[in-house]
């Protein structure tokens, strides 16, 4: 009886925590809205209604190509950095020379701002080239993904490695049966963060070129002194980052970590 009432109390406590947590999230939204309303009251920014009208007036034929362009830049850039990280991470696992090379590369790339990459790549490849946003995303996300890959690959439980060795595993079996699966949860978490970063970085690079994308639309609205356009395209970007994270990346991460739960 006592056990049942304790469990019931714990369930009520957990429900209260959950409700408080949700209230906190709503409060954060209200807080941002309040700041926006205050700023718009001074006349510095257009108000939420004005921006909502702008968004409502956007045609799908105008919105969709820009969103797809940004998604393409982000996903392609991120895929490049993921592939490079996997190759360097796997080689680092076996060769000290590659480990040193990867570590130094990570440190240099990590210290270089997205702004510098954007300017250098646009100056080198030209404003009309579609490559700078992709390469900027790859360069900025590489150190994060590479560091995560190297540490994920070295995080395999030595006890599990010994256990499979004891039943006849070869080094390749150890890699594919233990090392790689052990690293999946860490890589999934790093990829979730990395793709979110990729989207945000992509718009910075797009702003410097003329090849389209949400970033290009933001800077174009800014150049036309269209404050509602700047905010509307910014909201599109936020919705894109949140939607991708909540609808695709978070479930994928949960799936990759399911054997841990």
């Amino acid at each position: 009886m006592r056990g049942n009432s304790m469990a019931a109390r714990e369930r009520i406590g957990a429900r209260r925590d959950e409700s408080a947590f949700r209230a906190g999230r709503i409060l954060a939204g209200a807080f941002i809205l309040l700041i926006w309303l205050s700023a718009s009251a001074t006349g510095m920014l257009p108000g939420p209604l004005e921006v909502a009208e702008y968004l409502a007036g956007m045609r799908a034929s105008e919105l969709l190509p820009q969103v797809l362009k940004t998604l393409y830049n982000s996903v392609t850039g991120f895929s490049l950095s993921f592939l490079a990280s996997m190759v360097l991470g796997l080689l680092s696992h076996r060769f000290s020379l590659i480990r040193g090379f990867s570590e130094a590369l990570s440190e240099i790339f990590n210290s270089t701002s997205a702004l510098v990459w954007s300017l250098v790549l646009v100056a080198t490849l030209g404003v009309l080239s579609p490559l700078p946003p992709i390469l900027v995303v790859a360069a900025v996300t590489l150190p994060h993904i590479l560091t995560a890959t190297v540490s994920a690959l070295s995080s395999a439980d030595p006890g599990l490695l010994e256990a499979v060795r004891a039943i006849g595993a070869r080094p390749s079996d150890e890699f594919f049966e233990v090392i790689l699966p052990s690293s999946v949860p860490l890589l999934a978490s790093a990829s979730r963060v990395g793709l979110g970063t990729a989207l945000r970085i992509s718009v910075v690079a797009e702003a410097f070129g003329s090849s389209g994308g949400v970033g290009y639309m933001i800077i174009r609205s800014y150049n036309l002194a269209d404050a509602s356009g700047v905010l509307a395209w910014s909201i599109v970007l936020i919705a894109l980052v949140l939607g991708l994270d909540q609808l695709i990346l978070k479930p994928l991460e949960r799936r990759a970590r399911r054997w841990l739960e």
Partner: protein
């Protein structure tokens, strides 16, 4: 080596400090051998050396046949089901298809795993079920020598009893030569034919006790006495006190979870 399936001769091992100091022991075919000693005396290191997972600094180990080992911590791959874990060693040996399915089924049933147990991931399985899966993973490779490291640790009474019954059935049926390292005397002694008692670190063999013909109470009494003897310091390098029949000692030592 005649009549001996595993022979450990004067084995020495040092990590940051000496762990094993000239251990010799023998395992005979079909025998269940117990290795007991104070906590941290080097029993697991000795077992790992027997399995070939650790190289001794001195001395030698001779094995006649394949060795299977079951670790104390199960060490099942958490992303694979129990079935996949048990089948792993067979896949490494190129055994697939019907033969793989037959062997996994046979040895899983032998240790008392049901079909529904086999579809579980280790995290969803109970401690006893996981331990049985680890045992099946070793048995499925049909070893000639089985090494068990603290097989009963961390299991509740029911799981311990179930595992004990499974082991007893395997020995009765297959006569598998086995070494069990355990500090749980109540679980080990009903199963073992002989016991080696090790001294505290650096471990040496203090005494070899043949348990044949003794009932459980006498076995417990005899081994506890040997352990108390070495923990009092008297057993190190000297022949132990051999009590007369009826000379009962029921003291338990705080360092030893007998």
């Amino acid at each position: 080596m005649a009549g001996v399936i595993l022979e450990v001769s004067s084995v020495y091992k040092t990590f940051s400090e000496p762990v094993l100091a000239g251990i010799s022991l023998e395992l005979r075919p079909g025998e269940v051998l117990g290795v007991v000693g104070p906590n941290g005396c080097g029993k697991t290191t000795l077992l790992r050396i027997m399995a070939g997972l650790e190289e001794p600094d001195g001395g030698s180990v001779r094995r006649e046949g394949k060795v299977g080992i079951v670790f104390q911590e199960d060490r099942l791959l958490p992303w694979k089901t129990l079935w996949e874990n048990i089948a792993l060693g067979l896949k490494y040996r190129g055994i697939r298809g019907e033969e793989l399915v037959r062997r996994v089924r046979e040895y899983s049933r032998m240790v008392g795993l049901s079909d529904s147990d086999l579809s579980l991931h280790p995290r969803k399985a109970s401690g006893g079920t996981r331990r049985k899966a680890a045992l099946a993973r070793a048995l499925v490779l049909e070893p000639d020598i089985l090494l068990l490291d603290e097989p009963f640790t961390g299991l509740d009474v029911r799981a311990r009893s179930s595992l004990r019954e499974a082991l007893r059935w395997i020995w009765d049926e297959y006569g598998l030569s086995t070494v069990i390292v355990s500090h749980q005397l109540e679980e080990l002694l009903p199963l073992a034919d002989r016991v080696y008692v090790l001294t505290p670190k650096p471990a040496r063999v203090s005494e070899e006790i043949d348990l044949g013909g003794m009932d459980l109470e006498r076995r417990l009494e005899r081994v506890k006495e040997a352990l108390l003897h070495i923990l009092s310091g008297a057993g190190v390098g000297r022949p132990p006190h051999r009590p007369q029949d009826g000379d009962k000692s029921h003291h338990d030592h705080p360092q030893y979870e007998g």
